[in-house]
Symmetry: C2
Subunit: 482 residues, 2 copies
């Protein structure tokens, strides 16, 4: 184990994304892996606070739409976990088991359907108790024999999971669409991460679900990463847990359930990857723990007066609801600039004697790398500038994504697109069982995956499947993935 170093990034994001990502986690003091615990991470204050702010925005949106906070145990009795056959099959190999204490066989929860559904059976009597929309936040645990990657493929995942019960399939499917809207509202509109809502092929759905819609996000290395997914569980879980309700006619029916799982730690990986540049992190204004760093440029003589001015500015920003910090350490100004750029603070205010005398501050905007003057009395403009900041980095991410999706009319074209680290849009026979053979051919020959078809918009297929030549029923997206 070596002590920390504070120098900048030594690789460029476009040249070696993987190394850039590793360096930024370490040098911006986000994640520490030196506990030597495979797949588990130490979140340092900057990362922990960003994640906290992400939770807050996500929960606001969930609560606004009627989801209520709950807390489930971190463990699941074996009996519950093994009740739904396909769920067991999918999750059992990934489960961490506790050593037995007496007769108690407990698993660390890998996800919580088998905790919520039995509770639904107790809490819901009649259609009057519906819908029931709950959520919890915290950790789930999945054991994976593959290589782990910090934030991206981990054994402890920090997430939100919603679990919802409805009287009809129609209402449940409406919830699934609402979940996509929530991803749009928070991950895209607030965190600036565009995505493709992909209805997964039947061979790639959540174990136990009727269907799954994943949000695919682009990584700079050309691969896709699955972000929030939402699942129509249908009546599969309610049937095994006898979770019923009495309908309007006093007849018993099984509940329709759905679940939605934004993995905050993983979305954080996309935020770092999407917005960061060769100088370090760029954190969206809305979740930055420090939105403005104030750097007084002082000497022994004017230190007091400049610190006083810095504090005045900080107080003003506070009154506007803007989170700021003063860096009054003894480092050289250049060194301070460097550190706070690495840490992705959206705005920097510099105040030296010159600025003080002319009643201005120097304002540096992180993503533009641009300095300009701002009149001290107009400092409240930062509120609007923060919004523009988030809008700008979002649009940049959208442009990159849109340029990456190309139509492929033949297998050869598909091969070329994938080779160029882009995403292909193809006519395809079927995402139902019958299409799995063609998907396997793509996987073997091109080393890419069918990610599914657009879940919130019907795209009409024309002509033939570019693999088997049969009539194409769907337009699907193909890419490499994490």
């Amino acid at each position: 184990m070596t002590k920390k170093s504070k120098e900048g990034l030594s690789v460029k994001k476009q040249e070696n994304f993987s190394e850039w990502f590793s360096q930024i986690l370490k040098k911006a003091e986000l994640i520490d892996l030196r506990l030597d615990l495979k797949g588990f991470m130490v979140y340092r204050p900057l990362a922990a606070q960003i994640i906290e702010n992400m939770f807050k925005l996500y929960e606001e949106e969930l609560q606004k739409r009627g989801h209520e906070l709950t807390r489930m145990p971190m463990v699941i009795p074996e009996e519950n976990l093994k009740k739904e056959a396909s769920h067991v099959k999918g999750f059992t190999p990934e489960v961490f088991w506790l050593k037995e204490i007496g007769n108690e066989k407990l698993a660390l929860r890998p996800t919580s359907e088998t905790l919520y559904t039995p509770m639904f059976s107790l809490w819901i009597n009649s259609y009057r108790d519906l819908p029931m929309k709950l959520y919890q936040k915290g950790s789930v645990f999945r054991f994976d024999t593959k290589a782990t990657r910090p934030l991206i493929r981990t054994r402890e995942i920090i997430w939100i999971e919603t679990h919802n019960a409805f009287a009809t399939k129609e209402e449940a499917e409406k919830q699934v669409q609402e979940d996509i809207e929530i991803t749009e509202k928070v991950m895209h509109q607030k965190f600036g991460i565009p995505f493709l809502p992909m209805k997964r092929p039947s061979w790639d759905k959540f174990p136990g679900a009727e269907y799954t819609i994943g949000s695919d996000v682009f990584m700079p290395d050309g691969k896709l990463i699955q972000q929030p997914s939402t699942h129509l569980m249908g009546q599969k879980f309610s049937k095994v847990f006898e979770a019923t309700f009495k309908n309007f006619n006093e007849k018993k029916e099984y509940l329709w359930t759905t679940a939605y799982g934004p993995a905050i730690s993983r979305i954080f990986a996309s935020i770092i990857a999407t917005h960061g540049d060769d100088s370090g992190l760029i954190i969206p204004f809305c979740i930055a723990p420090t939105q403005v760093i104030i750097i007084p440029i002082f000497n022994a003589k004017n230190k007091n007066v400049l610190l006083k001015e810095a504090k005045k500015i900080k107080k003003k920003l506070e009154s506007l609801g803007i989170r700021s910090k003063i860096d009054d350490s003894e480092k050289r100004p250049g060194e301070k600039y460097h550190i706070w750029e690495l840490k992705g603070v959206p705005f920097r205010i510099e105040i030296g004697e010159k600025e003080l005398n002319s009643k201005k501050v120097t304002l540096y905007t992180r993503d533009l790398g641009k300095k300009e003057f701002l009149k001290t009395k107009e400092i409240s403009k930062l509120k609007k500038l923060g919004k523009i900041f988030d809008e700008r980095i979002k649009e940049k991410a959208e442009e990159i994504m849109n340029g990456r999706i190309l139509n492929a009319k033949t297998k050869e074209e598909l091969k070329k697109i994938i080779k160029n680290k882009k995403i292909a849009r193809i006519n395809f026979c079927s995402t139902k069982e019958s299409g799995e053979k063609c998907a396997q051919i793509i996987e073997k020959e091109i080393n890419a995956e069918i990610r599914g078809n657009l879940a919130n918009k019907k795209e009409k297929a024309t002509g033939k499947c570019i693999i088997c030549g049969k009539s194409a029923k769907e337009v699907v997206y193909v890419g490499k993935s994490y």
Copy 2:
């Protein structure tokens, strides 16, 4: 498993506290134990949201005092856990172990000293990096063969733990005192729970600590419950983890560390127990998810106009930062009153046609059980009334506590006080090792415990130890405990 019931409490708090407590958890829809998982609980929305609000107030106070949020893994490698000898001895019997995966021997964290101290050794180089004040929130796990009790004695504890590193013992001890202040500021002043800060006898300290200060809170059954405790770890952990820093003279020294652990789930138990009455919960205004319940009393004819008025009031309360809800369900008003009293909402606003016409509302205050009129245009008074509400329930708790502490001059007096479910204040030989024999006598003969001496105020002992008759060095408090 039986379906829920919504009737009221069938026992009185003073007559059968234990049953009262069990009923309130169930009937106010706070905690569900029907998953049949010993020591693990399901927190329903009301409990989960109160706990969330408690976290918020606690964290505000911690962040104000320079503690930064972090997140540690939920597991600890065996090697770390077993490094500090007395820590191992104290915690090993309580540890949940994971089934081994290859060579990885992992424990669910029972507390996180053995995660934080190795990180301090990496993050801290010099005195310039000090103090380092960190915290995390989440679950810790302690296996206990004794009977579990919901919120009070659980296997999964929901808490905050701070871990702090300093250059000198003096600064570390100052932190321990600051921790008591934080308990005072939040648990007492905000949640209304008075406490005795008790420096524990040497035989009752945290495994691995130099000394421990626990906050003892009174339960209605006469027993004490330990709430937040703070520990001077001294250099014990820093020595085994080689956590050093270079002092001003460039010489290596071991860090001085402290830890503080408010168990939010357990403090919630004290809030329920202290403030609740025979009609149900009474939740402090500052953490109530619903601070004001608005109940329009309508018939088919005036339903629309009364609902409109209710929404207007809700909007007004929102603009004041007051959390409110409208109960527009089809239940009878009396039934609604009953439910929201059971759930401990501080204020209820009733609006019927009479109120509407006279531009008033009926205001019911939960703890006083009093109805009065409030002019609709003076609704903003509720902000101040909320503060007074919290002040009033706090003062009531203080009165009860103060009446419970009695001086005992002889063993007989001590016996009597304990029998009367009170707390005794006695002259005692010593809380160091030499006093353990006398403590054992008290435990055997009187079935009570030496809880320690006041940690934030020196009380001078006079005369002799009431047990052994040797010169009394300390004034200590004796009671039964959970």
